[in-house]
């Protein structure tokens, strides 16, 4: 029986391996016949294309373009995940609201955006909103004179005048003091039972440290403005980044809202009632009692949504956002061999997915431990 099962497995393995060898044989023969490179040397060739919004010159090697692409994918994924979680949680809670208008509106949001393809949404955001609703640079909107909104990008105020190292030093001091204050308040709480307010005190100290350090170091705020045909000052949000981010957030939030709703409903009713019996306000009840428990249930499906978001961000390539997919496509168009170039992109996505799911597993385990 054991021998038979091993023989069977070997047979399956042999078939799979044979298919691979066949494909590989075709590949080497086809590339040899046409003299196309199959190695990764192309990474050292000059890129010959530019990347808007990045400090990247066409003379740099393709390798650097890949790095910019990876960073852009990570940027839209991280910002998108955070914003989608916030929006999705609000809408998920909104669906359970006793306010009829709020719950109906949330339900309509969820049912609307969950059931249309992301690509339709993205096309709409780029072609309909960015290109048609947002004004051209000549007639840009300047709300409060702090922002510049145009279809060439959105200018947002940003810090200025402080270099990276000193700023990160201040940042580190802030974080460390936050942590120390939290430890101290926790010990006070454990001795006296008085409310610790660790987050409030530590957080305000952190913000204070940042502001003081930044002023001491001679920092200033840089406001965006229109100069000729470009946005100068502040920081510019690329229109394609804006489009893919908005579409991803709207779409993913509709899925997250359903997860949050289900998780809240899965928290035993008694928890809410007990919190009410302790005279907690509605906000405290949700923030301190129900949401922490709901989030524990929600972690695995939320992790799935983050994975989907990362993979869906590849659609930005179709709308001039320079993520890794777009960099791959363009460098292939400019002469890099297609198979190794796409292989790199694919490996990146698979690795990033595996890392993300590992992180989700770690988070899941941590929260499970707290429960028991």
């Amino acid at each position: 029986m054991r021998v038979l099962s091993w023989a069977f497995q070997l047979l399956v393995f042999a078939v799979v391996a044979a298919i691979f060898f066949w494909l590989w044989g075709n590949f080497t023969r086809n590339t040899e016949a046409s003299g196309i490179p199959t190695n990764f040397d192309f990474l050292s060739n000059p890129a010959t294309f530019s990347i808007p919004g990045a400090d990247f010159s066409p003379n740099e090697p393709v390798r650097n373009a890949y790095i910019v692409g990876v960073l852009n994918t990570l940027r839209v994924s991280v910002v998108g995940s955070i914003l989608a979680t916030i929006l999705g949680t609000l809408i998920g809670i909104g669906r359970l609201s006793r306010n009829w208008v709020v719950s109906r509106l949330s339900a309509v949001y969820v049912e609307l955006f969950r059931n249309i393809p992301l690509l339709v949404l993205l096309t709409f955001v780029f072609l309909g909103v960015v290109l048609q609703v947002m004004p051209s640079i000549e007639v840009s909107w300047n709300p409060l004179d702090w922002f510049v909104v145009s279809n060439r990008g959105i200018g947002v105020p940003w810090y200025d005048g402080v270099t990276g190292w000193s700023l990160s030093l201040v940042f580190t001091i802030g974080v460390v003091s936050w942590w120390m204050i939290a430890r101290w308040r926790q010990s006070v709480f454990e001795r006296t039972g008085r409310p610790s307010h660790a987050g409030l005190l530590g957080g305000s100290f952190f913000v204070l440290t940042l502001i003081v350090g930044w002023i001491v170091l001679g920092g200033a705020v840089s406001l965006p403005a229109v100069d000729g045909r470009q946005i100068v000052g502040g920081i510019r949000i690329d229109p394609s980044f804006f489009a893919i981010l908005l579409a991803l957030v709207i779409y993913t939030a509709s899925h997250i809202a359903e997860i949050v709703r289900g998780s809240i409903q899965a928290v035993p009713k008694g928890q809410g009632e007990a919190a009410a019996a302790l005279a907690l306000t509605g906000f405290q009840r949700m923030w301190k009692v129900i949401l922490p428990q709901a989030m524990r249930i929600a972690i695995p499906p939320l992790g799935n949504q983050y994975l989907n978001l990362i993979k869906n961000s590849s659609l930005g390539a179709g709308f001039s956002y320079f993520d890794i997919t777009n960099v791959t496509q363009i460098t292939v168009g400019n002469g890099s061999p297609a198979v190794p170039a796409f292989f790199l992109a694919l490996v990146f996505y698979v690795v990033i997915s595996l890392i993300t799911s590992a992180l989700v597993n770690v988070a899941n385990r941590r929260f499970e431990l707290v429960e028991r």
Binding site: Q9, F27, R104, P117, V351
Partner: protein, 415 residues
């Protein structure tokens, strides 16, 4: 929709009490109600205005055929009509037979309903689709589609009645089995009937989105089940292969896989075997969805109580029969809602084939027609995208509601 609900509650005082309870419980509530109510009202008014007043829907009217079936030859459209009518008959027959069996087992939900209740049940469940089809019919200016719709309804109802009668008849076992096989062969026969007229490579428009999603979900089924069984098996090598496949495919974006199929497939297969873009898309859909289906089926296998397998074993069934006759059917039945969920996301994802492979699917067609002579540069993309989004929404929303209904009916999660 915000204003109508209170009045349905009848008298003034009741409406007042309802509003007090649901809209103005606290001052914060009142604020929320006013803010979001105003917001909703603004959206609804703007949207209605867009649909009925400002929307320039002429572009949809002119290009309806291109959007729905792409460049399918006009004089071959009757082939699609025939296929749809046959499909209607087929669905009717199946519904009738299933219903007959349910009556025999006394599990039917609708047997106790009157005729009007049944109709209203159908309208509630599929009204959106009927409405959409009606809308599309109104937009056409030929009689063909009307004839097709009429014939489909007749065929569907006829099939339903026939199926009901057939399921009551006592037939020999071999006959029933043969009939079942023939029923199963109908979709394949229809497929070959259709490809015989217009090759698969030229399937475009919404027709492509629908058929490729269905083809993908049917074709990925054997793959997904095999992968799930391999992943659960004690054979380490098989398990390893299956895990590697599933994790790799699930880690890769569908869009990138489609792009790769577009530019690098020819390196791996001989030029004579290199398939058309449509087939490439369907193959990638199958490979991709197979990995997800495997995980769904694995969940289903885990949900089957161990006792089932042990009971089967004690009956002396072979391991293959234990799995094939006892465990797998229950597992697959338990995860029907999840499978429908997968079909929905595949249905939506078929739009990626347009962007990655240059297939003229519904979304690409909607973008392409805004570049036509006479429509160019007028910002009509909003109209066409709303139309596209609406078609996808109707399909996905109906399917997701049906899957929720099935979930309740199967009692998944309550057991």
């Amino acid at each position: 929709m915000t204003a109508s609900a209170p009045t349905t509650l009848g008298t003034g005082t009741r409406a007042y009490r309802w509003a007090r309870k649901n809209l103005f419980r606290t001052w914060l509530d009142a604020l929320l109600t006013l803010f979001f109510g105003g917001f909703a009202l603004y959206i609804v008014v703007t949207f209605l205005q867009f649909v009925f007043v400002t929307g320039r829907w002429g572009i949809i009217d002119v290009n309806l055929r291109l959007l729905l079936v792409g460049r399918w030859p006009a004089d071959e459209l009757s082939v699609i009509a025939v296929a749809v009518v046959v499909l209607g008959l087929w669905v009717g027959l199946i519904a009738g037979i299933v219903h007959g069996r349910q009556i025999r087992r006394e599990t039917s939900a609708v047997a106790s309903m009157s005729m009007s209740q049944r109709v209203s049940d159908l309208v509630r469940r599929f009204g959106l689709i009927f409405g959409t089809v009606l809308l599309l019919l109104v937009l056409t200016d030929t009689t063909g589609p009307w004839l097709m719709a009429g014939a489909t309804i007749v065929a569907g109802v006829g099939g339903r009645i026939l199926g009901g009668i057939a399921s009551q008849m006592a037939v020999p076992h071999w006959f029933a089995r043969g009939a079942l096989l023939m029923m199963a062969a109908v979709p394949f026969a229809l497929f070959f009937f259709l490809t015989g007229t217009v090759p698969l490579a030229d399937w475009e428009g919404f027709y492509f989105n629908i058929t490729s999603a269905i083809a993908g979900i049917i074709l990925c089924f054997p793959l997904g089940v095999l992968l799930a069984l391999a992943r659960r098996s004690k054979l380490r090598l098989l398990q390893g292969l299956s895990v590697a496949y599933i994790e790799f495919v699930r880690g890769a974006p569908l869009f990138v896989l489609l792009l790769m199929a577009n530019v690098s497939l020819e390196f791996f297969v001989p030029a004579s075997l290199a398939p058309s873009k449509t087939i490439r898309a369907i193959v990638v859909f199958t490979i991709f969805t197979g990995a997800y289906l495997a995980e769904i089926v694995r969940g289903g296998l885990q949900s089957v109580p161990r006792g089932q397998e042990e009971a089967a074993k004690s009956l002396g069934l072979s391991p293959t029969k234990q799995m094939g006759l006892i465990v797998l059917p229950q597992a697959l039945r338990n995860v029907i809602p999840a499978q429908i969920g997968q079909l929905i996301s595949l249905f939506k994802d078929t739009t990626l084939a347009g962007l990655a492979l240059g297939i003229l699917d519904l979304l690409s067609a909607a973008q392409a027609i805004t570049q036509q002579e006479g429509f160019r540069g007028q910002g009509l993309i909003v109209e066409t995208l709303v139309f596209v989004g609406f078609l996808f929404w109707v399909g996905s929303f109906t399917m997701s509601r049906e899957s929720q209904r099935l979930e309740r009916k199967l009692g998944v999660g309550t057991r």
